[in-house]
Symmetry: C2
Subunit: 505 residues, 2 copies
């Protein structure tokens, strides 16, 4: 053993002794003994549909969550909003060293049940392994006491974002069973509109500023690093999304009678979109990357420390190339991106008809970083679109006069944005959290400078001036936002261990 390694070992040991019960074993034993009730609690929660627009079921989710925290000795309440309710819960701890605010959300992305390999996204199914790896369904799984660690629970929000809530509840149970308590005051805010950019949470900032105040916000959302290692996220990209529509004839025309004469809006759309991004994946909109300063050597070092395995990832995803923004995945996430998330014109497959469609529609999402302002980005994109010869309409269909006047028309609509955020890794709270996970897992966590996804709580961080750090726990291959969303069970068990450690950090 080198002297350096010995010194590190001693340091870790000392730190461990200095804090109450910062050991993994008792929590691990608690989880192993309670797999069935933990899973039952999660399944109960997942069985209540949580698409934001389904108000009645959203309310049922909120009621259940309030009760689950009340059961753990929290003062829990439902905060009414103009939209979906928030659940707020608080546990005051005598002699607490700090106040932690845990954020999670109980709403889920829209579902397309036809695209799922099970009867309903809200009737959870357990499989022995990943569906794509041939994972067979385990029937009547709630009767089991133990589960294979690689078993996967399939349901909307299994990973995004109900599992972290159940893991937090279980971590509280584990501490209670050990006759221990958190070393921090604990506040919990559960959002019901995260997938719709949290408008109602934002609207409560004035009213509940004091209620929400804490020393550190912990965001329980998003996946672990692909390596499966414990992960902390010190920032998240923001997002700017919008819909583009190009217009052809006022009604679909026969492609024989008018093909070569009536312009096709899908070709206009392909030309417009192709003008925005090169074959190398770099965005061609003027100034798109301009606001992002070059990464410093220290930043590059931190990014390089993330144990990505690009070759494995490429094999797993089945892609034969990557976009060339930044020199690796982590660097790529420090820059804004431009993505086509939806594209439609006419019909495909058996429904295809030989027409010149009347319109083509594209859904675009731009991921923003700390330095890129949504409004400035939108203006740059609009300038680019106009430079391609398009007349731009905001939210409106073209009238006859507009159609006659402009050879190329595009409508932009459904504009929404969320700013990015970033917390410095050098802050004392950041350092404490890094050390806590390092101790309990006996290895340093993966530190994401900016994670790729968006957590729409920038307004929260800005209003309260508090640092925020993401503590993701779910498997990276969870099909988040897509069909067949799933949770690897071992990730749930491990999440309990991480959260129990954080509660005692």
């Amino acid at each position: 053993m080198t002297r350096l390694a010995l010194a590190v070992l001693l340091l870790v040991s000392l730190n461990t002794l200095a804090l109450p019960a910062q050991t993994r074993q008792p929590v691990e034993q608690f989880v192993a003994a309670h797999q069935q009730p933990i899973l039952r609690e999660l399944v109960e929660l997942l069985s209540i549909p949580n698409v934001a627009a389904d108000r009645a079921n959203v309310r049922r989710n909120a009621d259940l969550l309030r009760d689950l925290f009340t059961k753990r000795g929290f003062t829990a309440e439902i905060l009414e909003t103009d939209g979906n309710p928030l659940v707020f819960a608080e546990l005051r701890v005598p002699g607490a060293q700090r106040t932690l605010l845990f954020y999670a959300h109980y709403d889920g992305q829209p579902v397309d049940p036809k695209g799922w390999s099970q009867a309903s996204p809200f009737t959870p199914v357990l499989r022995r392994a990943r569906l794509e790896d041939g994972g067979q369904e385990i029937p009547n799984f709630l009767a089991l006491q133990q589960f294979p660690p690689d078993a996967r629970l399939y349901a909307r929000s299994a990973s995004d974002d109900k599992a972290p809530i159940v893991a937090l509840l279980t971590a509280l149970d584990a501490l209670a069973s050990m006759k221990q308590r958190p070393t921090s005051n604990v506040k919990v805010i559960l959002d019901g509109e995260e997938e719709a950019r949290s408008p109602s949470l934002a609207a409560t900032m004035g009213r509940y500023r004091e209620k929400y105040r804490a020393d550190l916000m912990l965001i329980l959302d998003g996946p672990l690093h692909a390596s499966g290692k414990p992960t902390l996220s010190f920032g998240a990209r923001g997002t700017l999304s919008f819909q583009l529509t190009t217009f052809g004839p006022k009604f679909a025309l026969h492609s024989g009678h008018y093909g070569n004469w009536a312009p096709n809006p899908a070709f206009d759309m392909t030309r417009l979109l192709a003008s925005m991004k090169g074959a190398d994946g770099r965005v061609l909109v003027d100034g798109f990357y301009d606001d992002v300063p070059p990464l410093s050597p220290e930043e590059r070092r931190i990014l390089a420390a993330v144990p990505d395995a690009p070759d494995e990832l490429m094999r797993f995803f089945g892609i034969g190339r990557t976009d060339q923004v930044g020199s690796n995945l982590q660097e790529a996430l420090q820059y804004p991106s431009l993505n086509i998330r939806g594209l439609q014109s006419g019909d495909i497959g058996d429904q295809a008809r030989t027409i010149i469609p009347d319109r083509a529609t594209a859904e675009i999402d731009v991921r923003l970083v700390m330095e890129t302002d949504p409004e400035r980005m939108l203006q740059r994109i609009l300038t680019h679109i106009r430079a391609q010869g398009f007349h731009v309409l905001l939210n409106a269909e073209p009238d006859d006069q507009t159609r006659a006047r402009y050879p190329r028309i595009v409508r932009i609509s459904r504009v929404n944005s969320t700013k990015a955020y970033r917390t410095e890794m050098t802050l004392p709270e950041s350092q404490a959290l890094i050390r806590t996970l390092e101790r309990v897992w006996a290895e340093p966590p993966v530190r994401n400078r900016t994670m790729g996804g968006t957590v729409p709580i920038d307004f929260f961080i800005q209003a309260l001036g508090m640092p925020a750090i993401g503590v993701p726990v779910v498997n990276f291959d969870n099909n988040q936002h897509s069909n067949n969303e799933n949770l690897r069970l071992q990730n749930l068990w491990d999440a309990v261990i991480s959260f129990a450690a954080v509660l005692q950090m």
Copy 2:
């Protein structure tokens, strides 16, 4: 009056006298007196769904059509095929000058009932005018005896292609009521798979060659010229259709976590499609127009004689520019075209999710002209696609090895083609038909050298070596192949007059 005009007038009069009952009036009177039963017959036919895949209803269509011709004294039969049945009917006329073969089809394009402004595309609705012009529904219209001439009947196949069949039946009734008979033997073949490129009709060519033989084939399909004037089509473009699919990750990825790194298949698709057609509407595939010889001055003259009103059409369609192939609409139709008829990746609107889609799909149709061979055209397009850096798969999904090996992959599938045809206007049959319509309508018909749409009977013409001419009758703004297909009633009444004249030409 000039001497020339007088000579023309004499010539027209002599020709009129030389043929039996070549006058418009008695047929017009017959139609005026029988509007209700004519419309009832059409509505009965339109009420039977006729999507090619709906075998049971397709059979009901065929049975009814056979009976309708039997009722008119034809020997009518159903010709069984491996696909949908054909209806063949024949009327032999003593002393006939020739044999005419009328072709029409009774199947219709697929329907998307949600896109229609009525309960069902197979429950016909009559409106006072065009839907887009605010045409109100006329309730219980089958109780009326007379109808406004601009009233429109909305139903799948109202125009494409059941109205021409009912007009032909009515023309036979009108002649019978005048105690007259056709001057030609009449054969009728009704296709049940035209919208699927007539595979079953093609398969009967060997067996029924003699049954089908005639001196002239008349194709009752497609719309009148946009001016609404009587129209003859001496050719039709062919078609080559296929589906293109580009591949991204094997499953949709979160656009935040992997945007800027995992390539987006929709961007690949937009770049590929944008590379195929310039902003001026000209196709950029190498050699795309090469096989088409330049139009001769005489051909240009014939094309220029078509009374197109491009400014009006542009206003009507709401387009502010046209593609620049040929110097006008008619010239444009003498060249092949390339059209995106469908495009899809991910989802749009409320279903949009923030993902990098796993694939993007485009449905392409290429309209061919007489000189452009489908296979040669396909090869040129494949060469173009490969030149854009894509590895091309035929009908197959990429396996893991293929995904790893090729950075850009496109699949081509659903390849189908139909050749174009063209009949010389100078043939005696062509001239006789032109004169017949000119007499009955007192003006020369619009003569289309090549109509833009496709009639999949090239194999028919080639096998029998007979000339074929299209006699379209329906309104050009009939929403053929699209939602809210409709027929302007005056077009139906006028069609009876044209067909009665042709039966006595």
